[in-house]
């Protein structure tokens, strides 16, 4: 297990680290790469904190049915708009739903949307970007002109139109966010592959008889992965914000399914009567997205210490 001494001494955040996997990734090489990434990541206090935050939120969301005394659709009309108390820590809303319960269940939906949309965007974007970058030609041209056009349209108006078309279910919001999100990964991967495919190790693997598919999947994509991982982590956070914005504007997930966005939309109508309803879902969005942003920032430093911000 050869560890590079330069990696140990020049931390953090920038150090002369050898190019990632310059060569066919043999086992010990790739292990030490992951180890060095983990070492850099561990020293990034904010990133560790962000990771812990996200993990805690995911665990809470998963455990929701077992740890919460109420169900998210328990209606209690006798106790509408009750302020935070010992029985209802975050108070109750216009139908007497327990706000804490709904915030945690809303977190399930928001986190699911964040994870699913960012991961799908990354996979689809990587596939398209890899093919375009590797084969070039007409496909690449079409892709680049298309993304040029899409980047000229402001995100939110386009999201409005897409979610009007696809409707307000959890799945359709994920689809809408993926339709918007794949281009980032595609551009990143295309860029990396354009430069990587000129390198000697690709020529070498072609010389030993590797086919195009094998070169892309085994040699090019692993080396183009780091920026996509960072971008996707940040996208999980920004997609949670987008989802909540859409739901807040009545274009996202519809009640009775609670999401942080539609809870806030509901809360604004009752802001004079029950201001606390407007506070908690927002704090949960803030904390979650903060966690993803810290995590993404740490991953950027750990995966790609040479990158500039």
């Amino acid at each position: 297990m050869a560890t590079n001494p330069a990696m140990d001494t020049n931390l953090p955040p920038v150090g002369p680290v050898p190019p990632v996997g310059a060569g066919v990734p043999a086992e010990p090489e790739s292990l030490s790469y992951i180890q060095s990434v983990w070492r850099r990541f561990r020293r990034h206090r904010l990133a560790m904190f962000g990771g812990a935050l996200v993990l805690a939120l995911v665990l809470f969301a998963l455990a929701a049915p077992w740890i919460l005394p109420y169900k998210f659709d328990d209606i209690d009309l006798a106790h509408r708009f009750s302020p935070p108390s010992a029985t209802h820590w975050f108070g109750t809303d216009d139908l007497g739903h327990d706000e804490l319960t709904r915030v945690i269940y809303g977190g399930r939906v928001s986190l699911l949307i964040g994870f699913a949309s960012a991961i799908s965007s990354a996979i689809i974007g990587m596939a398209i970007g890899a093919v375009a970058g590797y084969y070039g030609g007409l496909l690449d041209n079409v892709l680049m002109r298309f993304t040029d056009i899409m980047f000229a349209i402001p995100t939110l108006p386009l999201l409005f139109v897409l979610s009007r078309i696809l409707g307000g279910s959890v799945l359709s919001i994920i689809v809408v966010l993926v339709l918007m999100g794949w281009m980032t990964a595609a551009r990143l991967v295309r860029g990396s592959i354009l430069s990587l495919k000129q390198r000697e190790f690709i020529e070498a693997s072609r010389a030993v008889g590797a086919g195009n598919a094998r070169i892309i999947i085994r040699h090019l994509l692993p080396n183009a992965l780091a920026p996509v991982v960072v971008a996707s982590t940040l996208m999980m956070g920004s997609n949670i914000i987008l989802e909540s914005s859409l739901s807040y504007l009545g274009l996202g997930v519809m009640p009775p399914t609670p999401t942080w966005g539609n809870m806030l939309s509901n809360a604004q109508e009752a802001i004079w009567r029950a201001p606390w309803l407007a506070i908690y879902p927002g704090i949960f969005i803030l904390v979650t997205v903060l966690g993803f942003n810290f995590l993404g920032d740490g991953l950027r430093d750990a995966l790609d210490p040479k990158s500039k911000r």
């Binding site: 040029d148 000229a152 108006p157 386009l158 139109v161 806030l264 802001i271 942003n293």
Partner: protein, 318 residues
């Protein structure tokens, strides 16, 4: 330079055509065309009336022909009529444009006035206590949904303290002075600035850090220049160049932000018009408002490239 600008202006045409094709086709897929909406409003409509109406609106024709007609009319300056307000869509958009420009300029100004000094300070005192605080604040700002920040500001300054109006641009019975107009502008500006100020400050900090480590800065110091002269005359001006590029990339984001901010504060700009028109199936207005967004985005990208060339004498476009 002139040739470059002309070249770029010509390039805008296919780009904007592409935008219009995509938006037109997407809008045609939104459920409920004008005739469908008439039918739901009036259940006594006969089938032959529906067919006649669809024909009158041109909705029985294939989508590409409809798009062609739209394009033909648009080129002559006719953007169609608002289905909801029965007014020319182009006029409605142009009327709202100044409100959005006011809000965006204010937000841009506030963001830069905060981001640039904070970025310079953080770079000069890297890893200091304040640098750390600014970093955390920048992360907080970026992680907050702007509409929620808006609601919190309304809760505090309008509901609790009664210092500022909760929304709108003007109310009946309020004296129309510059001062009262500013009061309506404050909260939306703060919310719209929040979206970018943290990221811009971080960016200013990192470009500044990069420049400070250059040889010519060391030379300037070695010459015996004051710290002030080195920072502002040599380092800052060079660090500003990448920031100008960033501004161009961020303008589209600012338009998206304006959509949310205007909706939260009922600010009568293009963003709110755009949201309302998409919600109300007001196709002509939706089309016009998205197109004007796209035109502004493309235009600002060009402006930024030109500004970039003016700021950096090494850049010469041919």
């Amino acid at each position: 330079m002139q040739r470059y600008i002309i070249h770029r202006l010509i390039q805008m045409v296919p780009l904007l055509l592409g935008v219009s094709v995509i938006i037109y086709f997407l809008l045609s897929m939104v459920p409920g065309d004008p005739v469908d909406l008439l039918i739901t409003a009036n259940p006594n409509v006969k089938m032959e009336d529906v067919a006649r109406l669809k024909h009158a609106y041109g909705l029985d024709q294939p989508i590409y022909i409809r798009y062609g007609k739209w394009l033909e009319r648009t080129v002559t300056g006719d953007l169609g009529w608002s289905r909801v307000y029965k007014r020319p869509a182009g006029k409605m958009v142009l009327q709202r444009l100044p409100n959005t420009v006011t809000l965006m300029s204010a937000a841009l100004l506030v963001s830069l006035l905060i981001a640039i000094p904070v970025g310079i300070y953080s770079a000069k005192r890297q890893y200091s206590f304040l640098d750390y605080i600014f970093t955390v604040l920048a992360f907080l700002g970026q992680s907050m949904p702007s509409f929620w920040f808006g609601i919190m500001l309304i809760l505090l300054f309008a509901v609790k303290l009664h210092w500022l109006p909760p929304g709108g641009m003007m109310d009946i019975g309020v004296a129309n002075t510059v001062f009262t107009r500013l009061k309506y502008l404050i909260l939306p500006t703060v919310v719209l600035s929040l979206i970018n100020v943290g990221r811009w400050a971080r960016y200013m900090r990192s470009t500044m850090l990069e420049v400070i480590n250059q040889d010519y800065i060391r030379t300037a110091r070695a010459k015996g220049l004051t710290d002030r002269a080195v920072t502002y005359r040599h380092a800052f001006r060079n660090a500003l160049i990448p920031v100008i590029t960033l501004l161009a990339i961020e303008i589209p984001g600012l338009f998206s932000g304006a959509t949310i901010t205007e909706t939260v504060f009922s600010w009568p700009g293009i963003g709110k018009l755009n949201y309302d028109s998409i919600m109300l199936n007001d196709y002509a207005v939706a089309m016009a408002s998205i197109m004007i967004f796209a035109i502004l985005v493309v235009f600002f990208n060009l402006v930024a490239d030109i500004a970039y060339a003016l700021a950096d004498p090494r850049v010469r476009y041919e």
